[in-house]
Every structure is written in C-alpha cells, then in structure tokens.
Amino acid sequence: MADSKTPNLDELEKGPWPSFATEIKKAAATKANAKGLMMQLERSYKEKRGHWKHGGIVGVKGYGGGVIGRYSDSPQENPEVAEFHTIRVNQPAGWFYNTDSLRKICDIWDKYGSGLTNFHGATGDVILLGTTTANLQPAFDELADAGFDLGGSGSALRTPSCCAGQARCEFACFDSMALCHELTMAFQNQLHRPMWPYKFKIKMSACGNDCVAAIGRSDFSVIGTWRDSLVIDQAAVKEYAAEGLDIRGRVCEPCPTKCLKFDEKNAELTVNAEECVRCMHCINAMPKAIAPGKERGATILVGGKAPIVHSPLMSWVIVPFMKIEEPFTEVKDLLLKIWEWWDENAKNRERLGETIVRKGMRNFLKAVELEAKPQMVFQPRANPFYFWWPDEINSSDPASEETSND
C-alpha cells in the first residue's frame, strides 16, 4: 500500500466496525464524483480541515427547499465535486421500507448521483449525497415517479419524524406513525416552502422513553403517556420473581416517586397510581408484567433545540394530556396557532423556545389559548415581578368602581 493515494482512508478501512471509507471506495469504483469526494476527503485528513464552500441556491421546480447546494472550495483540484449537492428525501414514517422501494432509490441514485447516501440524516430524511445542478430535476422527477417526495430545509417545517410506535412496540401510547404521516401530509406547503423566521421541527415518541429524542431537539414534541393507572399482571410478576429478578432492588427502589410496593411473600406488586409520574422505568424493567394504562394519549411540549445560539433548551410541557386520535384536529389546530404567534413575534433565526423566553410564557400561552397548569413548571417563581392583564385589575374610573362595589 506504500504507493496508495489514500493512505488515511486505507487506514480507516481496518477494524471491526463497518467502514464508511469502504463505502466511499465502493462508490468511487464506478462514479467519478465519488472518486472526487474520496480524494478531497483524503486531503482533509492530511490538512485537518474541510473543503466545502457555503451553499448556493439550487432547487427543483415548485419547491423552496429540499435540496442543499454544496460546492468544493478547490474545484481546480477536484473538478468532479465542483458541484456535489444533497437531496433530502422524506422518509416513510418510522423508517420502514419494502425492498422494492429501497431498490428504486438505489437505481435513481445510481443514474443521477454519487451512489452515496445517509440512512438517515439527523432530522430523519433519506440523504442522497452528491450530484450536479443539472441532475437535480431529473433525479427528483424519477423519485416522484417512485413515490418519494422531498423533505424540508431552510426556514421551513423540517421533515417530521417518529418512533416505530404501534408498529413494533407494546409501550406505544398513541399511533406515532399515523400522526407523523398525517402532519407531514397536512403541512406540505410549510414543509416545502420556507416562509418562517427559522426552522421548525416536529418529533413524536409514543412513550416517555422518547426514542427519537423529541424533547431534546424538536420545537414541537409529542410524547406518549396515559392518565389512569399502569396495568400490572400479577401472574407475570410471579414469573419474573421466580426467574430471580430483584423486583424490590431493580424495580421499586429506582422508582422516582416510590409508588411501587413489592410484597415478597406473595410475589405481588402494587402501585399507588396517584403518585406515579409514568416515567417508564418499571415497564422497561418488566415489560411482560407492567403496561401503560388504558386511557392513553400524549403530553405536548414545545421549545426544544440544540445549543446554537443562546443555549440548548429542552421542550416544556404546554398540554399535560391530549387524546391523540385521527384525524388529529386538536394537534393540527394547536400547531397553526403556535406558528401564527411565532411567525408574528420571532426575530430572524430565532427558534420557538427562544421566542418564548424573550416574550414570556404567559404571552405565548394566551396567544395559543392555553390555561396555566402546575404541570407546566418544576416550581413557581421565587420573585415578585409578575404582570397583571388589564382586565384583572379594578379600573380607577369612579363610575366603574361604583358598579364593582355593588
């Protein structure tokens, strides 16, 4: 290998974990632009820096996003990647595929692109990595014929994503895949035509384990929960006990509210449902014996985002419990109200959570017509600096004082 042109990538082919370098080399065997990527990346490893320029505006007819322009900063050295754009393709809810569909994507990307992809990007889209400006429209046209549409980019609704939900999980408290698909279909215009102050992300997890990290990175997070008591199957509890599970130590002890009691003599587990915060720990530990309650739905939280630019924020509870049932009108109406307020009040490149911090939660709640509830906060304020609405204060006008004294 002494005369190899890619010693760094060669090194990265070694070892037990599947190698991205091998993937690039496979594509480079037949595609000139993948080979260009390989050579530019090798140079990055030598120079310890990337070699991509800021994007330019590229796209396909009828859309304001879904394609990210990418250009090499040294096209004279790597002319094959002078243009190396990304196409974001909206994934099917839950990232389930039949092989016919997946092969169609492969064939289209074989024909028009580098043959390299991401399954998937951080937001959830299929990422088709690397093509020319001229190939964007024909590639999209064939994707459309195969039933695949573009995802979101820029200051738009980003492609919603969700967990596997009821398709493969007994913890699911609502149909996350149906909700994800329905919201994606209902808001195609917001998804494909950037028109807002900044990006807006929707993610839904069907239980508090939050497998799509909705609470940490989505402006609108839907997280499954229930309102009644979790359901305990005592026969299955006895089986776990007989198999040697330390129910007191591993299940009851870590319970954050100590609402579970285990009677070791009778191998019986009971819950004080009023004290339970539905954290999922006991269900995770004993999935055969404990299930979420029967009255299922979701908690709606808003404002989650990564650190850029004023700090990371975790989504905050605004609706402690909502039934999540088709046609999901309540969720859609709430989203429309939130977008109206945010679009009106946000500064350029300000995420929803940052706008709420700047304008005050009380103003946000009033605009979206939600009442204050104790579930919304960890604790009430410790300072006396709060506002009153005008209609909450007795008017100084003597005429109205008279009537109020009646």
């Binding site: 990265l12 310890k48 399954f119 990595l129 459309a144 870590p254 630019v309």
Partner: protein, 352 residues
C-alpha cells in the same frame, strides 16, 4: 407543471404482513440475545428483529446487499433506527440463525440492544459539511472500532448513548447524550473585508452573534470583531463565508457527558462538559478514542445496575466524577454563558 407536495409513501405500504396484522396489538418483548428482539402479540404471533450497526454513510451497494438479505429472510421488509442501525424484520423464527450466520460472514456487527453502546448518531464532518470543526465519520469509525465489544454485548450498567457533532450547531440530539463528542473552534474568525462586502448582509451577521462581539464598520462596508468577546461559536460563519473560523492547528473536539432524553426514572438531562479540548489527529483520533473508552470504563466500574451516565454522576456528585476519572477541572468547566448562574453551587453540601 411538475407534480409537487404529494408527500412520503404511506408507511402502511412498508410494513411486513406480521406487523400489519398485529399493529397496535404487541403485548411484550424479550431480548433473546444481543441484537435480537422478539416481540409477541396478543394474537400469539411473534416478530423477530435482528439489528446491525451501519456506518450511516452507505453506498448503494450496501443498500442493495441488505435488500438481498431482507428478500431472502424477511419477505422483503426492513427498517432503520433513529441511531442509523439496520433492522431486519423476521416473521419466521427459523430464519434468525441463518441470517445471523450470513451477517457474521459479512462482518456486520449484530447488537445495539439493552445495556449496550448503540451506534453513534453523527453528522457529516469533512465528508460533506461546510462549517465543521472536526470530521465525523472517521472519529465515529475509530471510537466504534474500539467499542464494538460493547455494541455486541449487554454487559454495561445501562444503555450508553454516544453521539458526535462536527461543530457546535450540534445537528442531532448530541447535547442530550451519555457521551457527546463535539467539534470546537478556539480562535475568533478572520474577516475577509473585501469578500465580506460582496457576499454578506451586515444586519444578519451582527444579529447572529450571541455575545455582541460583531460591529458594523461603515468604512470597509464590512464588520469588526471584538476578539475578547468571541467564544468561537461560528454562528457568524454560518451567515457569511467571509468570516472563516476554521483553523487546522487549533480546532478539535470537546467531550460532554451525562445527558439523556428518556424520562425513565430521572427526567431528560443535558450533557455537561468533561473534557474541554482534544486535538484533531486524523485518521484515528487516538486521544479521543482513549478518552471515550476511559469515560465508559469508569462509569461501568462505578455505577449501580440500571444507572445511566448522568444518573450515576448525580448520585456521586461532579466533584467525585472528576476525581474518579482523573480529569482536570478548569475554568472552562464553569459556565459563563446565558443560563450560568443556576449552575454555581449555593450550598455548603459537597464532597472533598
């Protein structure tokens, strides 16, 4: 007119018959061995899932190969997880072992279930991003080469979620991970005044700076940077290519620990700074792989069963964490940004 706004394919077309028939009816699941899940329905039907790690950056050859395997063993159905793993969905129990044998022969690691280190969620890095402070794929490959044994087993105290972002934009839920590797810059951007005037919008660039370090300069039709205020976030560089912040000699990675998104037991937590800087050392980033291994092993040796990274630290205290990991605590660890004050200790209760 081209066809637009028709949306993604309906997920119901993508589900194997065993899922269509048992949608919403799953009763419980087991993990018969690392990387294999068995879901059982109220109807008695069973679904077997075989999970493999992938490099996320996939060629169409890789995709066609997993399609071949799914056609052979799964009736033509598969899925991907939120952590870039591939899942084969089998309705026939007798197909599990032959599939596992074929995956082993191809060198594809089976695992990522239960108390393991699952695949590393990561960004594009030098492969395709225009503002990275480090690479993504090579760091991930190097860390996972070292930790593959924790992917294919379930021997840790709890699950451990590792993530990497190649700059502090932190695409993905990196900031809520048990171990987060984040690309950082350490020097203010250099302003190319001539280029700036041509390609930038001054108000947007000024507004992009969270520390108000950028001022317009009417003379140059450009901006000036108060370098003492700059904490190198690169948000201005996102707005203007004339503010190049990339510096091969000083860029590198930071490591944050103790975050989680799950609500199980304790609520979700942000990851917090453990190691302020490690150098970019391609192609294998040995300083990073050593640091991550050490962080994993100290937790594994000291946490109670079931304790996530952040839960363990909350129990023992951060002062004890720095002692056990033998990591230096510096002024970089003390917050001085937007929400710093609540992180200062306002009690005499602490450990020596």
């Amino acid at each position: 007119m081209p066809r637009t706004d028709f949306g993604p394919p309906k997920y119901t077309e993508m589900l194997p018959p065993v899922i269509q028939e048992n949608y919403g009816k799953w009763k419980y699941h087991e993990i018969p061995q690392p990387g294999v899940l068995k879901h059982v329905s109220e109807t008695g039907a069973a679904l077997y899932t075989v999970r493999i790690g992938s490099p996320r950056l996939l060629s169409i050859d890789f995709l066609r190969n997993i399609c071949d395997l799914a056609d052979k063993y799964c009736g033509g159905y598969l899925r991907f997880t939120s952590r870039h793993n591939v899942e084969f969905l089998l309705s026939e129990a007798q197909n599990v072992d032959p599939l596992l044998a074929e995956l082993a022969a191809q060198g594809l690691p089976v695992g990522g279930t239960g108390n393991s280190i699952s695949n590393i969620v990561h960004t594009q890095g030098w492969v395709h991003c225009h503002t990275p402070a480090t690479d993504a794929s090579a760091v991930v490959k190097s860390v996972m080469d070292d930790l593959t044994g924790y992917f294919t087993s379930m021997t840790l105290p709890a699950k451990c979620r590792v993530a990497l972002a190649c700059c502090i934009n932190m695409c993905g839920a990196v900031h809520c991970s048990d171990i987060a590797i984040v690309g950082i810059h350490r020097k203010p951007p250099k302003v190319d005044h001539e280029m700036f005037a041509k390609v930038s919008e001054i108000p947007n660039v000024v507004a992009a700076c969270p520390t108000l370090a950028i001022k317009p300069n009417p003379k140059t039709k450009s901006v000036d940077i108060n370098e003492e205020r700059c904490m190198y976030c690169g948000n201005c560089y996102t707005m203007s290519p004339a503010l190049d912040i990339v510096d091969p000699e000083n860029d590198g990675v930071a490591i944050f620990v103790g975050g989680k998104v799950s609500n199980a037991r304790s609520g979700p937590m942000f990851s917090r700074l453990a190691i302020p800087y490690l150098p970019n050392n391609p192609p294998r980033w040995p300083e990073v792989t050593d640091a991550v291994r050490k962080l994993v092993e100290v937790w594994a040796a000291n946490a109670h069963p079931g304790e996530r990274y952040g839960e363990w630290i909350n129990r023992i205290g951060w002062e004890r964490f720095f002692k056990l990991t033998d990591l230096p605590f510096t002024d970089k660890h003390i917050d001085d940004f937007t929400y710093a004050a609540p992180t200062f200790r306002s009690t005499t209760n602490f450990k020596f």
